[in-house]
């Protein structure tokens, strides 16, 4: 087990290093001027541009830029953002992590509670009207483009019916000294629409995974044996069948972990949610190399961690994988 863990960690670290180097090189080799937004706003002389390039180290040869980047990496120094100068990339990532975790976490919890429950419900009522309707509804949600759904929800719920705020994570005029319940309620109101959008379009995946896994398991002899022993249907369903149908969901959870942080770029942009997804979108649009590099590295680290945790979960929960 320990050897396995050490081997996997080493592999993950090596992969992360390769990804980091590739990200650095590919971004710089891609066409586009990182100072383009500034140039589009005002006429700038060559000298002015030179000062700006020097400010961000863009006047240095690629090798020097790479060396500076790599030497700063161990201390967590990812450089200074061009768009958000003088904010450091690490600071920006840290500040945006909270909102992303909140939104992603709520969506993930919704998916893996409601989605699992509905999936199990479908499997136990296979072929029924309920199963058919839930399949239709979930697939409809799955097939909706998230940005379209977001715009529709805003148009109806916020602008037409005036029930919830159209964007933002908090009321910009709410005091930082407001009582905690007022601030929590405020965030909650702002959270509903983005969380709902992301949940509607992603719930189907969990439901379908769970339904299929449950159907596979419920055919097996040990489930029939449990029923034959006179156990209640609920006990058979959740204690015996569901626990064995959990493994595909564990893999899915591993794949979803990066989503916790990166969220959905479009949905975050439409709801002006200050998360990592919208930060990445800004960085892409502005060719903000350091920021783009930081967000991409964070996403890569999360993918690797998610996979590692999923494998570890399998190892801990399923004795067969340990012997294999």
């Amino acid at each position: 087990m320990t050897r396995w863990l050490v081997r996997r960690l080493t592999h993950a670290a090596a992969t992360f290093l390769v990804v980091t180097i590739l990200l650095f090189l590919l971004m710089r080799l891609a066409p586009g001027d990182p100072l383009s937004r500034l140039v589009d706003q005002q006429q700038m002389s060559a000298d002015e541009m030179a000062v700006l390039r020097a400010r961000f180290g863009l006047d240095q040869p690629l090798g020097r830029q790479f060396l500076t980047f790599m030497t700063g990496l161990p201390s967590g120094n990812l450089g200074v953002s061009i768009e958000h100068y003088p904010d450091r990339v690490s600071t920006l990532l840290r500040e945006r992590l909270g909102p992303s975790l909140l939104l992603g976490g709520v969506v993930l919890v919704l998916n893996f509670t409601l989605g699992i429950w509905l999936g199990v419900l479908q499997a136990t009522h296979r072929g029924s009207r309920l199963d058919r309707w839930l399949t239709r509804l979930s697939l409809t949600g799955y097939s909706l483009p998230s940005f379209w759904l977001a715009l529709m929800l805003v148009a109806l719920v916020s602008l037409q019916w005036d029930l919830l705020p159209a964007a933002q994570m908090t009321d910009p005029l709410l005091s930082a000294e407001a009582p905690w319940w007022e601030r929590t309620a405020d965030i909650g109101r702002h959270l509903i629409l983005p969380a709902l959008t992301l949940s509607i379009v992603s719930l189907a995946t969990t439901m379908r995974y769970q339904r299929t896994a449950m159907l596979e398991v419920m055919r097996l002899d040990f489930v029939r044996a449990a029923s034959a022993r006179g156990l209640s249907a609920t006990r058979v369903r959740w204690r015996h069948a569901w626990r064995n149908a959990l493994f595909p969901l564990l893999t899915l959870l591993g794949l979803w972990l990066p989503f916790l942080v990166t969220g959905s770029v479009f949905v975050e942009a439409i709801f002006n949610w200050p998360g990592i997804g919208s930060l990445a979108a800004e960085a892409i649009l502005g060719r903000d190399y350091p920021l783009l590099q930081g967000t991409a590295m964070l996403a890569a680290a999360l993918v690797l961690t998610g996979n590692l945790l999923a494998d570890l979960g399998h190892l801990l929960l399923d004795p067969r994988t340990r012997t294999a």
Binding site: D33, S36, V39, Q168, L285
Partner: protein, 585 residues
Amino acid sequence: MTSVFSVVIPSRLTQSRGPGSRTAGLSRILEGSLNTVCAMPPFVTRALVLSLLTTATLNGQVPGEQGTMVIVVGQEGSLPIPTLISGTANRDVADLLFLRLAELGPALTTRGDTGFEPRLARSWTRRDSLTVAFDLDPRARWHDGTPVTSRDVTFSFGRFRDPTVSPQVAQALRHVKEVRTEGIQRVVFTFDRAYGEQVYDLIQHVQILPAHLLASIPHSALSSSAFARAPVGSGPYRWVRRDPGRLLELAAVPEFFLGEPKIRRVVFLLARDPDAQLNLLLDGTGDALQNIAASAVPRIRQRAGLEVVPVPTFSIGYLLFNLKAPGDPSRPHPILGDREVRRALALATDRETLVRAALGNFGTVPEGPVAQLHWFRDATARGTPFDPSAARRILSERGWRDTDGDGIVDRNGVPLVLRLNFPGTNVIRGAMAPLIQSQWRAVGVRLDLVRLDGPVWAERRNRGEFEVDFSQGAFDPSPMTLNQGFSCAAIGGANVGGYCNPALDSLIARTAAMPEPGAAEWQRVVRQIVDDAPAVFVYALTNAMVMHQRFQRTRIPPTSYWSDIWRWSVRPGRQLSRDRDQDRR
């Protein structure tokens, strides 16, 4: 039924200094009176409140005009320090924090010594053609309470004249020979040559910085200093907080020496996505938005409480020709190096149709590189007319004829094909490009459209890797802006098209050296540029600003939209809860 709630007077209203003080007594009396009122039947209470409100309105009480303003912005003002500014978002915030010696007046004239509005300087006097003395307003204070002195002015000019700090400003101030103090409140500027825009150069480019706070901070360390995180200025608003990636908040300085701002709280709310920006206005979170697409105007107009305010700008959209051969800047472009061909292309462009189609009422056809607000603009001049037959004739005279009948003119077997680069994300240019393509096709010119990602477009433009580039630029209010974009000296800098006419350079230099050149003199420069056709000047932009109707505005300065909001107020009786609820912080 009687009202049962009781009223407690907040201590801040009575400024109580202790239980036995006179104000504490007043507080008790007020509390007692109000609690008596609250114990009365509701109709009596309502009548009393109504009469009190009526009296307040009739007396023109100030509180009815105070307010809060949430401005939705697309870019973040992360560093609004004048010497470090890049981008309009920072500039907008800096203009509320830091004052200049004076501002451009309503006529936006840049010549001479008059027509400017005093700010930190109460007045200025000319001693001779090379010397101007500014007297500071003795009431001016930094936000920490320290008086603004002549030392601050000399310090600020010292910073701005350093080419390593801001090469562009240092270049603009290159004729300033000496800045010296005469006492605490007078600063004397000496120039090395006489010219008509001396005062403009002094007031426009430099915002005054607090020497007592910044002198000990090297400029290289300024961006990471405590001052950068909470700047201290002398403007009508002081720094409150910045929530990175979300908002920036300023609060009015009640003792601002030019008058207490009525808009007490200004929040710059960041929303990058245009849909999110619009939704924030429509759901009532935001009060103002600097610019919306013309297509969104009907949605705004349908919403009660919001209005669209057209604001003319200094921005011009133009088709910039590259006069240098592709890959070899030492040779002229085989097609665009010919002035007559460029003129033919200008004649083939129906700018009126383009402006009406893409901008509606939010744009006009410029004469040349002159925006709607330039004081030297000739409003009656139309520039190059739309004349496709003249364009065809000129092309034919230059040897470009359709010899193979494919509808494209050619010369020596080479068809007249050009490529137009434009940023795909820009709605206006994206809408106009296909129309230009069809207009030029009508005179036998094939225009291939190259829609590029914004940063790629900018990179190619700056490197001169284009044939025709659809640019848009915010020009300076001064006619010297013509020098920046079209002089031989600017090649390698802002003049990316490589246009160079020594006769024009000489004309600009002669005009600039006049003591007070008028519009007619600068018009000669404009006409020369239009005749040489280094570009086709397609549109002069009017911004569609969105604003909540409750604000009573004075004016919107086109060089800095929000810099006058300290003079704005909320219309009596139109206050929202956010306007009344400013003490929540």
